[in-house]
Subunit: 477 residues, 2 copies
Amino acid sequence: MAPQLDAYFKQVEASSEDFIERLRKAVAIPSVSAMDEHRPDVVKMGQWLASELKNLGAEVELRPLGKQPHKEYLDLPPVVIGRYGNDKKKRTILVYGHYDVQPALMEDGWSTKPFELSVDEKGRMYGRGSTDDKGPVLGWLNVIEAHQKAGVGFPVNLLMCFEGMEEYGSEGLDDFINEEAKKYFKDADAVCISDNYWLGTEKPCLTYGLRGVNYYSIEISGPGQDLHSGVFGGTTHEPMTDLTKVLGTLVDTDGTILIKGIKDFVAPLTDEEKSLYGDIAFTMDNLYESLGSQTGIFPDKERTLMGRWRYPSLSIHGIEGAFSAPGAKTVIPAKVTGKFSIRTVPNMEIDPVNELVIKHVQDAFSKLNSKNTCKVWCQHAGKWWVASPKHWNFTAAGKAVEHVWGVKPDLTREGGSIPVTLTFEQATGKNVLLLPMGSSTDAAHSINEKLDRRNYIEGTKLLGAYLHYVAEEPMEG
Amino acid sequence: MAPQLDAYFKQVEASSEDFIERLRKAVAIPSVSAMDEHRPDVVKMGQWLASELKNLGAEVELRPLGKQPHKEYLDLPPVVIGRYGNDKKKRTILVYGHYDVQPALMEDGWSTKPFELSVDEKGRMYGRGSTDDKGPVLGWLNVIEAHQKAGVGFPVNLLMCFEGMEEYGSEGLDDFINEEAKKYFKDADAVCISDNYWLGTEKPCLTYGLRGVNYYSIEISGPGQDLHSGVFGGTTHEPMTDLTKVLGTLVDTDGTILIKGIKDFVAPLTDEEKSLYGDIAFTMDNLYESLGSQTGIFPDKERTLMGRWRYPSLSIHGIEGAFSAPGAKTVIPAKVTGKFSIRTVPNMEIDPVNELVIKHVQDAFSKLNSKNTCKVWCQHAGKWWVASPKHWNFTAAGKAVEHVWGVKPDLTREGGSIPVTLTFEQATGKNVLLLPMGSSTDAAHSINEKLDRRNYIEGTKLLGAYLHYVAEEPMEG
Ligand SMILES: [Zn+2]
Ligand SMILES: [Zn+2]
Ligand SMILES: [Zn+2]
Ligand SMILES: [Zn+2]
């Protein structure tokens, strides 16, 4: 395979200015899914993407998703699905990405215009969507184009699924994927998603796990309306008093979850898994730099990475209904809602965790002997995901990384969730690989989002090389 | 004295429509001190009040207070000071009130235009400022006018101090009172303030005590910026975890303050004081009605009133810097500030209470062994006030109430603070009486503020009768 890849890589180099131009055109379309007034731009972006794919010879469809829930005056942007190649003798890889972006305004503090790609002398390509997720999506288009121009045969059949609502909760997508899993996507042998980031800036990674999240509300109410603490302080049970006490029973300062039974669900650490952490390119200084403080719980990198990836955590996010502005206000809030969430890991199932949490909160409240009323519920929950990094989908990607970057990739998990990952796994029953293009400093969702030219061009090589190795991996492994 | 009072009372009845007309004119001037754009109206209201007083033959001065702190583009409205009578053989009574009002907008839900006095068939006179505090202020003017028209000699010398910034923290007034205590106000033998309310709707009261308030902030910080709980949950000490634990150590659900040493400061309940509570016109149903719930701490009225008036209380008001909106946000807030206050009573001095609170919070935080940073400070403090209800100022007012209303007044305290009360006491060294005109249902500071016609007219009689009884009380008592 090495000879074809050499020709492909050379073509990627030769076409790199064209590929950057393609990214420039995409960034120029402000496809902000969260803002009503940008909905036509999101649609325009989907149409532009479809026409680029058609020009490359792919079959493409724009699939409508109906009206936007809670905003029925808006049509959801279409899902762009496509197929490139239809050779029964080849493997079929389904790739996912999103063509919508986070909001971006100059007044948020951008140094350059967010919807104009600006490349600086170090090759940092600034622009909203550059790394999340237009760069990776266009990577797949670049792969097709470079194969055609180099005259290298395409190694697999490619199925594509690019959505326009990812940054607004992927409205409508789950149903669509479940519907199409046995139709449009039925030939998929594996799934590849490029929508996350390296752990650092130098070493590529393959991601095989994500934590889930269960998000809870505790509402404590008593008086019929907010009261003045001068007039009523000392005469009534106060919801804030109870809520702070209940919130105080959830987690210790060192992160230990105090809800009985939770830790029994957590899969024990095997020696094999433990051995994976030592080699990962990460230091405590990396942690302190991203925290902006020295407030880490654990002194060592291994335990810190496990705290992030493979153990649950509980965070208290805030309180709704209490006084939250600067200054001083002498209010007794009548109804306050504490918000907290638990990041879940194997084998914490959503319902049993909810049962333990709800029982814990109710017990803690009833011990207070308060005349107030306490309700607790799970606002939303998304399950964790872990794939086998020994699957051919991962071993192929690992070989591709070594070929392109000259290093074995880190095998990482992430502490947050990318819900579509689990949806694809469950709907298709196939292995899902997360293969990031950008690095940890790309500032997705922040001001001055960028993608390094190197990550874009080498990343395009990597996506192509991955398809070649995938074509050659033995089925079992 | 009865004959003069009879003639005076008759005149008040005869002039009552004029007095209501006077209130109508005052309500029509939207003297909202908190809104920049209404500052000219506040000034106009002060000038109108001064000209009314001049027309009645009083000496009047409009005293400037300089620029408004933090809003130096605004002049503070003037203090209207006046004197009516200068007979060395008579006692001199200093009265205080305010001519500014709370904001009021139709869209807040008013049933009538807030700046047009609307009198309904039950004699409820709706309008912003009707009861707080334009009605009581005009009561003093009505007293003068009715004496003149009835040809009844004025029983005392009257000193007046009417400010225009009460609803915005009485900016500049403390310095002014301290300055004038030995000048313009030097002849004052006692002080009377009509700016609070009856405990209920039927029985008048004299108020002899107010709680103080010490307001605290606990700031806990760690990470350099807000973090995503997916990425960082389980790796860092979280300020919200620590803050909820520290706030949970302050007070029990039943209102018991858990800060060691606080209760040792509280003056013990004497049998004499205890005996005052039984007769007060107040029921547990009154409490439940105003709470809008059955969440009272104590089952009996006596202990409830003591909880409101003569024992300290601690309320947790809220948290600044955490997630406080509806919905779900998975943030780890980097810096959170908990706000709470303690209502103080005799003999809790500001500084010793601060010392205990700060030590308690620091100890509670240090027990957590957190790497976060905790700061705690007193944002502001105002001392409690208690006067002797046996002073001639109170006994005179008590006789006046019996004369006008046919009942002995309740002797009440209030749970909140009226800071100017303590300022007058400390600056003049004289007894201060709080003599309310309005009732508990007047909705000062709310929509549909009103003053009952009966409270205004009988209240005008009461203010006049009080001055007559004051003139005759023996000096010691
Ligand atoms: Zn993304
Ligand atoms: Zn994103
Ligand atoms: Zn007032
Ligand atoms: Zn007021």
